[in-house]
Symmetry: C2
Subunit: 307 residues, 2 copies
Amino acid sequence: MSQLFAIALHGGAGTIAPETMTEEKYAAYTQGLKAALDAGYAVLERGGASLDAVQAAVMSLEDCPLFNAGKGAVFNSTGGHEMDAALMEGSTKRAGAVAGVTAARNPVQAARTVMEHTEHVLLSGPGADQFVREQGLPIEGPDYFFNQFRYDQWKEAQAEGRVQLDHSEKKMGTVGAVALDQSGNLAAATSTGGMTNKQYGRVGDSPLIGAGTWADNHTCAISCTGHGELFIRSVVAYDIACLMEYKGLSLADACHKVVMDKLVKTGGEGGLVAIDQAGNIAMPFNSSGMYRAARKSDGTENIAIYR
Amino acid sequence: MSQLFAIALHGGAGTIAPETMTEEKYAAYTQGLKAALDAGYAVLERGGASLDAVQAAVMSLEDCPLFNAGKGAVFNSTGGHEMDAALMEGSTKRAGAVAGVTAARNPVQAARTVMEHTEHVLLSGPGADQFVREQGLPIEGPDYFFNQFRYDQWKEAQAEGRVQLDHSEKKMGTVGAVALDQSGNLAAATSTGGMTNKQYGRVGDSPLIGAGTWADNHTCAISCTGHGELFIRSVVAYDIACLMEYKGLSLADACHKVVMDKLVKTGGEGGLVAIDQAGNIAMPFNSSGMYRAARKSDGTENIAIYR
């Protein structure tokens, strides 16, 4: 028998007020998470690489207008879209990332291309946009990224002069996935549209290796969602890996320590999905909810928003 | 008596071929390092904050055309200059950084301003340039950054279609400083012009908190110089902090483990300067040389290039 394989993903965390959650919205979010889970799981099931699985799952979330990444990206302070993404391969610790891309249909695909077709890890801004065009990756115009709800969010945030993480309900808008494949390799990917009305050029934790995204076969694969600045200052993803490697903590204990204790002390609201080589999955969050889903080859499946 | 205070800094690491090092060049580099050391030490001596000391030292190095940061920044693939910088305060773990700024006279000053005048940690590209202008920070035109030696380097690299870390002699061009002040607070700062002929938009480890720059009073302050992509994938600076905090290693042992063992295994050439709250300083490098200097209030002073 081949080894256990599994995938876990998130569609953002935050204060997801139950009173604004209608049955229709709940069903739509659940469906979006399920579609991404299936896309990633299918890759693993046919013996594909975890890196391909997390990319497939994140591309599905990027294509869904409900999540703040790709098509559903929020508006920045200039009324544009600036998207960040990263992915990392646990067997080689190779990584690729883009920050501030404005036209890529799938920023995570751009991150993959940086990893495979450059000597670099992170490309940013107009240089990253140029790279996306030169590589012939699918690009889209403002119409594709336009969404009345996001536009109204932005106008409201702009009027009040504030930067917000995503929805009126303070959802942290990021999507991400982690996976373990049949060869025992881990991978992680993260993608985001950032914060509504964010300052032009702001980069959060998502595209930063060690902060929002991490994968190493010896420890774990992690994708974070939350208040990016505080996640950067705590090097959240790599901190979990270090607690496992240097202190011998289990994945669950390391995740709990970082998300429910260390981050809480800094005011760092959010959560993450994590997986280790044994197929253990952790999906901790210190906010009131996190859009999340997981499926293992042992038959367990789980899709949830609240605790 | 007030507590021990100290500062350490670097002006880049790499294959600094002794045969190309003339007496004049050696004296000029030494003088550049000494000027920066004095600038930082003076702040500490009058009871100033370590954050101000590392900023003063790095600004001095940025103003010196010999080092690849600020005035001496190398040319990127489009013949422009894109500079990155970061700094971090060990007492609060606040941090600020810029990536891809093209006109700031002192990128580390821009990083400080991001830390103090925005809710963000990292601003990148045109948005970062716009921020620098809006904040009224000193900006310079291409004439200021022009340097015949760098220009010839770039033309040569372009002709050969390669990206190089800095000088013909493969020096890793980054500058940085770490300090401990009389109040027992640590700080770190790093600044770079990146790699000659680098892809437009490439971001290295210098502005990434945890990779090239880190400060936490509980462990250490670190500024790295080397092959940025490999430093990012190893989260070098934070890895040292974790080895101290979670495994109980001394600063020296943690630095040795990461620079002389872990990085060497990945081919990650370079080095770093590090300091802890007891005033211990480590300046390890796995390349043939690293421009470096250190001074402590106990009277010890050290300026060196080779082993």
